[in-house]
Symmetry: C2
Subunit: 72 residues, 2 copies
């Protein structure tokens, strides 16, 4: 079991949380997604998976949801 933590900008509400969560759960091996929503800033997203996730897949999922991964 491994966790991947990313910082995501542009999320403002529960709908945004749902959109990001759904996209991340579409990645093979993802078991859990937790979002610490910071509506006015950068939200922390923690993804739990059996094996380490390809960074590109995580970034692509966030992009697909309509948001941007930012540096820590």
């Amino acid at each position: 079991m491994t966790t991947t933590t990313i910082q995501v900008s542009g999320m403002t509400c529960g709908h945004c949380v749902n959109a990001v969560t759904q996209e991340l759960q579409g990645i093979a091996g993802v078991q859990d997604v937790q979002v610490d929503l910071v509506a006015s800033g950068t939200s922390r997203v923690v993804v739990t998976s059996a094996e380490p996730l390809p960074q590109a897949a995580v970034v692509a999922a966030i992009d697909e949801a309509g948001y941007v991964v930012v540096d820590d």
Copy 2:
């Protein structure tokens, strides 16, 4: 044809706009919904319908979407 204009607080993003629009379009007679999103404040929502809409139906739709109608 008539338009009903309401002020709605708590909307922050396009998902919110979609949620409000869908609920309002569920009211009988509604022909068009336009939202002027003000993410940090009060958003103006204009509903176009053939006949005047019951205020209670409009307020209920906004509540169902998860937002609050505020006074002008």
